[in-house]
């Protein structure tokens, strides 16, 4: 099924539905019902409010209203030192939170003109991928819950515990590690971590196989997701959709491979997964494959972990030279980047623009939700997978 055919079909279905609903509309006065989804709502990952206007069963327009969790990070970053920003920034995408620190630290290192030693880069990459696994396994289970399958999410939570335990044993925090430092890492890995990590990766792969049969192979899941919420390639590019959302629309774009990054991805052999359909099923499918791929990356990097220090030699007091740096990485939710401007001042960013993936991912909602049935709104929002801290910063 090509993406274009499905969009036409949706349009025709909408028109036919309009004609058929005319009589019901008159009798039940269902025209122009305005529905508030949120801000407290089980279907949205946090406090997102979406106002939809319904015409019977179908959405006429939708308007997401973010900002219920706006914490003003960009302003707060301006009054903190580089090292202090990581505590703030952990809390943007709180499920894969190490991943938020990394692009900022890389930008800071570019401004400081220091390079972290190879061991630090390897460990950063491994923890980055662990953050991705922690984040996306939750999605894999949670999409089931949004659709009514209440069991897979428990398996998701159970299996991601192992990953969170690993992150905790290395960094001290399950959710907000605050482990990255300008020039390297806070600590080295504890003893026995490598073996435990490999075991956990095998467990995650088993979990992915389970999800493949339990959800992807389920006919009802397929009926609910295939052809729902199709995003054509050009629209995805226009809105800046990134991560699995873009790859599910056929865009072959992965910053781990395509951007020149000091982290260790190029030292592992892995594949970028894309899907031509661009519907909700594709987005789920891509994320599942990416989770498996992440486990393979972690194992390869664990095998090739170089020895050495984890922190570069940095002078005690440092005035950051003037400059601007833009670093973005392939975070679990999409492309996250920091545009850090330094004015040569006493060790804090002058301006720190945080480009978060969910902001762009949700900005497509007004376009995407037009003409969609009410139950499908939940499916689409679940498949886009946003996290409120990521939208609102």
């Amino acid at each position: 099924m090509s993406a274009n055919t499905i969009t036409e079909h949706q349009q025709q279905a909408y028109i036919a539905g309009q004609a058929a609903d005319a009589r019901i509309r008159f009798e039940l006065e269902t025209e122009g019902m305005t529905l508030n989804i949120g801000p407290q709502h089980p279907a949205t990952h946090g406090t997102l409010r979406i106002v939809v206007r319904l015409d019977g069963e179908q959405v006429v327009w939708a308007d997401p209203i973010p900002g219920y969790m706006h914490r003003g990070y960009e302003k707060l970053c301006e009054v903190r030192k580089y090292q202090q920003v990581t505590t703030l920034v952990n809390r943007i995408d709180w499920l894969g939170s190490f991943c938020n620190e990394v692009p900022f630290i890389l930008a800071a290192e570019q401004l400081y003109e220091v390079e972290a030693p190879p061991r630090a880069q390897w460990i950063r990459t491994i923890l980055f991928e662990l953050g991705r696994i922690a984040n996306v396994t939750l999605f894999l289970g949670d999409m089931g819950v949004q659709l009514g399958a209440i069991t897979p999410v428990f398996y998701a939570f159970r299996d991601r515990e192992y990953v969170l335990n690993l992150i905790e044993s290395a960094t001290g925090g399950r959710f907000h590690p605050n482990y990255d430092r300008v020039g390297g890492l806070k600590d080295d890995l504890p003893k026995g971590w490598v073996d435990e990590c490999k075991q956990a990766m095998q467990g995650i792969r088993d979990f992915c196989d389970e999800m493949e049969t339990l959800l992807l192979g389920n006919e009802i899941f397929a009926t609910r997701c295939r052809g729902i919420g199709v995003i054509p390639r050009q629209i995805a590019l226009d809105y800046g959709l990134s991560g699995a959302n873009a790859r599910a629309s056929g865009i072959d774009w992965d910053l781990r491979r395509d951007a020149d990054s000091p982290l260790a991805w190029k030292h592992a052999d892995w594949k970028v997964w894309t899907h031509p359909d661009g519907d909700s099923f594709a987005r789920y499918w891509v994320r599942l494959q990416e989770t498996r791929e992440a486990t393979k990356i972690v194992e390869q990097l664990l095998d090739s972990l170089p020895a050495g220090p984890v922190m570069a030699k940095m002078p005690a007091r440092l005035r950051v030279p003037k400059g601007e740096a833009w670093i973005s990485t392939e975070n679990p939710l999409g492309e996250m980047g920091y545009y850090v401007v330094s004015d040569g001042g006493p060790s804090g960013p002058f301006r720190c623009k945080i480009r978060t993936p969910s902001f762009n991912n949700i900005s497509i909602a007004p376009w995407l939700l037009k003409g969609v049935y009410v139950p499908d709104v939940i499916t689409i929002l679940a498949s886009l997978y946003f996290i409120l801290g990521d939208i609102d910063r």
């Binding site: 089931g144 009514g148 339990l214 389920n218 009926t223």
Partner: protein, 342 residues
Amino acid sequence: MNEVAALNYGIETAIKMGVILAVIPVGAMVLGYVFLFKMMAHMQSRLGPMEAGPHGVLQVIAEGVKFLQKEDLMPDGADRWIFKMAPVVAIASTFLIYAVIPAGPDLVISNLDVGIFYALAVSSLSVLGILMAGWASANKYSLLGALRAAGQLIAYELPLVLAVVGVVIQAETMSLSGIVEAQAHGSIFGFSGIGNPFVLTQGVGFLIFLVAAQAELTQAPFDMPVAESELVSGYMTEYSGFRFLLFFGIAEPATAFGLAAIAATLFLGGWYVPGIGDGLTANIVGPAVLGAKIMLVAFLIFWFRFTYPRLREDQLQTFAWKWLIPISLVNITVTAILKVAL
């Protein structure tokens, strides 16, 4: 003589009513605990309630008490009488089903000749209760949810009934006790060692009945009217406290128990196992046997519920009208032909 007969009748009726009133809550609680709390928990790799009583057996009672002590709200524009009567109607239809289920050769409240016909007719009364609830809530979303639920229930009544027709053709009687007898003493193509449990000869009918029962109970994958409360509020929203408990905590598991009992009676042989005979032993062991079969069917129902995501309303209707009904019609035709031919 008349007075004695009247007194006997009175005592008998009182006993029977007492039995129903005892069985239904107990059945609902057992089902609720075993399947909704424990089985669901273990399938989801967790423990479930463990605090109230050993392994949480008293949790159902705690839940009941919890609901009882909640505030009894009623929306302003609600139609008071209909609002109050709606859960009662829904529960009443459940209670009425139990009147015809035989638990032993003599253990049946009312041995109607048209037993199964009566049971199916009465079980569809719950639709009325739902519509009353949706309408009386004075809430557009409740009304829409109730209409959706009503549409679903009516759509799935048909496969339910058609699946049973095949059984009736084979058993040559509509009385549930008669159907149990037919299974006990029947034979499959001449082999009569295990009788003729209709699950073997009416396998298709059994599956259709199970699926339709799932929809009748508005359980996943057919729980869009209820889970719609994610998005739009379902027909139960405006209910709180004990009224909500009537809908959600008693009507649902009790209906599940009742439908499972009917399925066990129609397809699995009811209270009969080979060797049980007809006399006192059967009357004592029969209920236990029936209970075990009910648990088996309920296990299937709830297992299905925990595993599958839910169908969208239009997909649900498509499934009923375009798939289940034609298949069940074919089933009836084949049964009738084979019955006459063999």
